[in-house]
Subunit: 79 residues, 2 copies
Amino acid sequence: MDKLILYRELIQRLLTARAKLRYGSDPIESQTIFDTTKDHYQLVHVGWKDSSTRIYGCVLHLDIKDGKIWVQHDGTEDA
Amino acid sequence: MDKLILYRELIQRLLTARAKLRYGSDPIESQTIFDTTKDHYQLVHVGWKDSSTRIYGCVLHLDIKDGKIWVQHDGTEDA
């Protein structure tokens, strides 16, 4: 399989799997944002906590650039 | 024109125009991330300032949900 196609598939699978971890009774939405044209891939948390506190944050942002995976932002170690 | 198609086009045009404002000698990259399948649209600033300070931030995040435009994050008033 072409390396680029493999990277695209692996990144999307990883972020989708991670987004699913959060679901359940949690009111915070885990959004996967995939721009397959420009090769930008994100996982973002969006929502309201206790109906009053706004939650917004990028958890992971990966790009594919020049055949390599770039970790543009890694918010997974903040917690 | 169908409202949804119009919204998609307007949002992408807006974010693309705004991304271009930043270019020039600025080393910070303005990325537009368009997920037209799930209707998530973002403008993100990514880069290094003075080769040592990491810059990462979502400037605008718009979604189309139930036929309406949702402003999920507006970082344009921070500056």
